[in-house]
């Protein structure tokens, strides 16, 4: 027979700060990844396919050596990993809203901003692991990378990823009970952002309207900054532009996301 046992009660649980709450949410989100790290590696399939199939086409069409083409292409692939990985992350929240998991965290004494920030920060860890794997895979084919540039590049990706992940959570909160709506928004936004960033193909010869669209796409600046950073050019205007775009994305994403979480 099952019998409930219980140690004597303590006093009312103590107040915790936003930083502690964020850390606790982050640890909860990371535990499944740490328990099963191979799940994070499965998400590498898509970027590796792009690298393996699209890379040779680029090399052939550009007429440049493979190493030089990869120098241009790999940073774009890393931004693509950040884009696809963080854009889909709201789907996890949708799943937790459909069960009672999200509701439980709303009744727990956690600050609403910590609920959002802890989740968004979680996206950084698999992002960096995947980025390292892609760089390592590319090294034998002539790809070279500046270590300080790589580290700064990961910081840039992390800032952008937190912001874009927060936006994905905001969309999920707005699409409660309507998964299809989340995926329509996801598909409608993600492909134009990708194509109009020049991460896969250069936009130098694009029509004027595409260049205008690319100029207002924050991802264009992040991609350009990553290319400069990986090449070891750390203080260029493109790098500053990339950080500015990532920080603005993060601020907007966190503001909208925290607002959505407070209303959840």
């Amino acid at each position: 027979m099952i019998t409930l046992t219980q140690t004597p009660p303590t006093s009312t649980p103590p107040r915790t700060g936003v930083a502690t709450d964020t850390w606790n949410v982050l640890v909860r989100e990371l535990r499944p990844v740490l328990r099963d790290p191979f799940s994070a590696l499965f998400s590498l399939v898509q970027p590796l396919i792009f690298l393996g199939l699209f890379g040779p086409l680029l090399v052939a069409s550009s007429g440049l050596p493979a190493g030089e083409t990869l120098q241009w292409f790999v940073p774009g692939i890393l931004v693509m990993v950040a884009l696809f990985g963080t854009a889909s992350t709201g789907a996890n929240l949708l799943g937790e809203m459909q069960t009672g998991s999200h509701e439980r965290t709303l009744v727990a004494p956690l600050s609403r901003s910590a609920l959002l920030m802890g989740r968004a920060l979680k996206e950084v860890v698999p992002l960096i692991v995947q980025g390292l794997v892609i760089c390592l895979v590319s090294l034998p084919f002539g790809f070279t990378v500046s270590v300080p540039g790589l580290l700064l590049g990961f910081v840039l990706l992390a800032v952008f990823g937190i912001g874009f992940g927060a936006l994905s959570y905001s969309v999920a909160l707005a699409c409660r009970g309507r998964d299809w709506m989340f995926w329509i928004i996801h598909q409608t936004v993600i492909f134009p952002l990708m194509i109009l960033s020049g991460m896969l193909l250069p936009l130098d010869d694009a029509p004027g309207w595409m260049k205008v669209a690319a100029a207002v796409n924050p991802l264009s600046y992040v991609v350009q900054a990553e290319r400069d950073l990986f090449a070891g050019s750390l203080g260029t205007p493109a790098v500053l532009g990339g950080f500015a775009a990532a920080v603005i994305t993060a601020i907007i994403g966190l503001m909208v996301g925290i607002r959505g979480m407070r209303r959840a």
Binding site: L4, P13, G100, L106, V107
Partner: protein, 342 residues
């Protein structure tokens, strides 16, 4: 087994843990605003096990969500565990436990991990959380599943994990929203035992919503009946049944003509060959049956069968509203109302 109910003073025992005054919630819906809860006055004292009973859509879950700070009230105010739901929702959250309708553990999480996270959310130390998690895993028969992924658990196992998550911080007040919905009879009986144990052995104050009549009848010492957003009755199940329903006696005859003839001697209502005595007529309960037989015999009427039964909470609801709770409970309105700003 530890018990802390006995250590409380009389003052603490009678202290009010929930106190709502004029609480209301209005949602915007097609065709205008809907008052999901209106002018709710409610007091729950420490150590009580209170069931909130009503059909789907009556306002039970909305009330629960107001009291647990998941919704903000459109009108009125409530104090829960000494904290205002409007001015100090964080204080309320720190002091209560909540077990919602859905499965509250993340599907990709491991069972013990989820308990460790929940303990951290409530500010427990790592050591205390680990001790408490293992204690709950053991007592809720989840010990062998500690390292399993939640997605692989059965419905009953997930529900037991929900209970463990709601209890990790040893709350003084526990809210349960339709706790046994979707459970098989055995799991439901187990769950009821856990709930009663919590109140009896640990003095936990429990507030649960249900649309199952037997659940409210068997578990609660006090039942609040809710309909259309208002509390329409508040008493113990026995008192409600005695006051608002009374025993039921059904007399079956060979023909409808005999049933109509019997009505002159028995009172009540006929339906075909059956006479059902009203609450008033059957007030004397089983002692009325011999008198009834003698009266019918004297009138030359021979019933085929006479049955006597205790009233149910459905009879109470029927008398209060003219509708059956059983039928209402089966036709839940599917609406997705929008909250109206307070």
């Amino acid at each position: 087994m530890g018990s802390y109910a006995g250590g409380m003073t009389d003052t603490q025992n009678t202290q009010s843990l929930i106190n709502a005054r004029g609480l209301g919630k209005t949602f915007a819906a097609k065709g205008g605003a809907v008052d999901a809860v209106s002018n709710l006055n409610l007091e729950v004292r420490r150590g009580e096990l209170v069931a909130f009973l009503g059909p789907n859509g009556a306002g039970k879950t909305t009330t629960l969500r107001l009291l647990t700070t998941l919704l903000t009230p459109s009108s009125g105010e409530a104090t829960v565990a000494g904290c205002s739901i409007s001015r100090d929702p964080a204080g309320v959250r720190r002091r209560i436990g909540y077990i919602g309708q859905g499965n509250s553990a993340g599907h990709n999480q491991r069972v013990r991990d989820e308990l460790l996270s929940q303990g951290a959310f409530y500010g427990l130390t790592r050591r205390d959380t680990a001790v408490r998690a293992d204690e709950l895993l053991e007592s809720l028969d989840l010990g062998s599943l500690a390292h399993r992924q939640v997605i692989g658990l059965s419905g009953g196992q997930k529900r037991r994990l929900d209970i463990a998550l709601g209890l990790i911080h040893r709350p003084e007040l526990l809210f349960l929203d339709e706790p046994s919905t979707g459970l098989d009879p055995q799991s439901r009986a187990n769950l009821w035992k856990h709930i009663v144990d919590l109140r009896d052995d640990f003095g936990t104050t429990i507030f649960l919503t249900t649309h199952y009549l037997d659940e409210a009848d068997q578990l609660a010492e006090r039942v609040l009946v809710m309909d259309h957003g208002e509390v329409i009755a508040d008493d113990s199940p026995a008192a409600l049944k005695s006051r608002l329903a009374g025993d039921r006696i059904t007399v079956t005859f060979d023909s409808a003509a005999d049933a109509r003839a019997a009505l002159r001697h028995t009172g009540g209502e006929t339906s075909g060959a059956i006479v059902t005595l009203t609450a008033e007529a059957a007030a004397a309960g089983e002692r009325a049956v011999p008198q009834l037989v003698r009266a019918l015999d004297a009138a030359g009427l021979a019933p085929v069968a006479i049955t006597h039964r205790q009233p149910t909470l459905d009879d109470v609801f029927l008398n209060l509203t003219g509708r059956s709770l059983r039928e209402e409970g089966q036709s839940a309105p599917a609406s997705n109302p929008q909250e109206v700003a307070a």
